[in-house]
């Protein structure tokens, strides 16, 4: 196999990296891909909790890197979705136990075992971030419609381009009513400043919180708008790059092709 390593990052904390990693991972697996999701937030793990797997953890990613177990031993099979595996973070170590060269080694192993490996990056642009992007092939930048989040996402995009990694954007936690009233940045404003390809728009959705408390995957809930948005994001990542991005501001059944219109490619960095 020659899988893809995708890092999910944002700069700012709490904008939805872990949610995106879990949901997009689940959606890709539902589409029949072999998927690993890795919690790279060493010391502050929570991807396991969101996926409802915390009580099964025996080994973690630091154990794999330090040779205490095999990759397969650390990979926990999801309870509800086939082909989805979680490689948890270590809760007791510090980010500095992992070195960039360890990541190159680990990602090469992941490419052989999985079609997609999604790395849930810690917030910030320090060691943990540098580790997570070290060997990534692609990046998903998650951003909320807030000025501070856009600023941090922009910083991260610059750092990714400097490493020749092409980022794509997910705008998360959009509240159409607030945008309508002019109390929230519109996704068009966000895309305008960041000017990278748009991968998807995800609304604020109570089902996100419920799902992370019950462990019932968001992407299996047909009535969840966020869940459906994540399913479409997974399709764009895998085989349907031109699937139109649904505009949360447009009428409920109206599909608008904003991907091409707003996702102006920034071609300054060599791919």
């Amino acid at each position: 196999m020659d899988g893809k390593i995708i890092v999910v990052t944002s700069g700012k904390g709490g904008v939805g990296k872990t949610t995106v990693t879990a949901s997009v991972g689940a959606a890709l697996a539902k589409q029949g891909k072999r998927v690993a999701v890795l919690d790279m937030d060493i010391g502050l793990r929570n991807l396991d909790v969101v996926m409802g797997l915390e009580n099964r953890i025996v080994f973690n990613v630091v154990d794999v890197i330090q040779g205490r177990c095999k990759l397969r031993q650390a990979a926990l099979k999801d309870r509800r979705i086939d082909n989805l595996y979680l490689i948890p973070a270590s809760q007791s170590d510090e980010k500095s136990v992992i070195k960039p060269q360890n990541m190159t080694w680990l990602c090469n192993k992941l490419r052989r075992e999985y079609d997609f490996a999604l790395l849930d990056c810690p917030a910030g642009i320090e060691q943990g971030f540098k580790n997570a992007i070290e060997a990534a092939d692609e990046a998903i930048v998650v951003c909320t419609p807030e000025v501070s989040s856009v600023r941090d996402a922009d910083r991260v995009i610059g750092l990714l381009y400097a490493r020749s990694i092409t980022p794509r954007l997910i705008v998360n936690r959009i509240v159409p009513q607030l945008v309508e009233k002019g109390d929230m940045l519109s996704h068009a404003d966000v895309v305008d400043v960041l000017s990278i390809d748009l991968l998807g728009l995800v609304e604020m959705d109570d089902a996100v919180v419920v799902s992370s408390n019950t462990g019932n995957p968001l992407v299996q809930q047909k009535e969840s708008r966020a869940g459906m948005a994540f399913n479409r994001i997974a399709m764009r990542l895998d085989g349907h790059p031109d699937l139109p991005v649904e505009d949360p501001m447009a009428g409920r059944s109206f599909w608008q092709k904003v991907g091409k219109k707003l996702g102006r490619k920034n071609r300054t960095a060599k791919r």
Binding site: R151, D154, G158, A162, S164, S195, T268, A269, K270
Partner: protein, 233 residues
């Protein structure tokens, strides 16, 4: 001129960073060629398809990079990783009196040989562009990004970040942008923040008037309209 977009690493024998549309390799050219090739493989294996057709610049730092070695490494990288053109770094200084030696247009901004600087693209948060004299940006300056110039700053796009013109003490410098919504403006030693006479979306410029930064509509109050004769800025 510098752009602050590179992350620092400890010092491996071969380092790679993206610079503009090229990959810039800093390497210790005194190492045996086999070792160099082995070290070169590491970053390129990581980049894989992204290195295909990429322009490569081999920078030996202080040391010399002789022609046979350049040739050898170039062939190696092309065969192994399908890279595009491989070259040395552009010469740092062109003799200023010889107008025919233009800087390499694609990498001109790396080593500024002229006083004024024109760049295209988007300057992002955390990045900084500096010019000794005038600075022209064909693109946007994002929030959190900085533009610094000894002379004028002209932005043919949206100014959202911080622009410091006339540094350190040129009080006649101006800042012009097609869409003028800066975080902060500095001219010579004077600082102003959050001042746009409109909500942006039209060309405006900032200049000094009695030790105060003022903003005006560029199309209406173009400060150069009344000059009797075109002059060099």
């Amino acid at each position: 001129m510098m752009m602050g977009l590179h992350m620092s690493h400890p010092d491996p024998p071969v380092r790679l960073k993206g610079v503009g549309d090229s990959l810039w390799i800093t390497m210790d050219a005194s190492l045996p060629v086999e070792v160099l090739k082995k070290e070169l493989c590491k970053p390129f294996e990581r980049l894989r398809h992204q290195a295909v057709n990429a322009r490569i610049i081999l920078d030996p730092g202080e040391k010399a990079l002789d022609e046979p070695l350049l040739e050898d490494l170039s062939t190696f990288l092309k065969n192994r990783f399908q890279v595009g053109r491989v070259s040395r770094p552009p010469a740092p200084k062109a003799p200023p009196e010889d107008a025919s030696t233009r800087p390499d247009p694609e990498n001109g901004w790396l080593y500024q040989t002229e006083d004024s600087l024109v760049i295209a693209g988007r300057v992002r948060s955390g990045q900084k562009v500096e010019a000794r004299k005038h600075l022209v940006i064909l693109g946007d300056l994002n929030p959190g990004a900085e533009a610094i110039a000894g002379g004028d700053i002209i932005i043919l796009g949206t100014l959202l970040g911080t622009a410091a013109a006339g540094q350190p003490d040129n009080e006649s410098a101006i800042v012009v942008a097609m869409d003028f919504r800066p975080t902060q403006i500095q001219i010579a030693g004077y600082v102003a923040a959050g001042m746009s006479s409109s909500a942006g979306k039209k060309p405006e410029f900032a200049s000094l008037d009695n030790s105060r930064v003022v903003v005006a509509d560029y199309t209406k109050d173009n400060p150069f309209k009344r000059l009797a004769w075109p002059e060099v800025r």
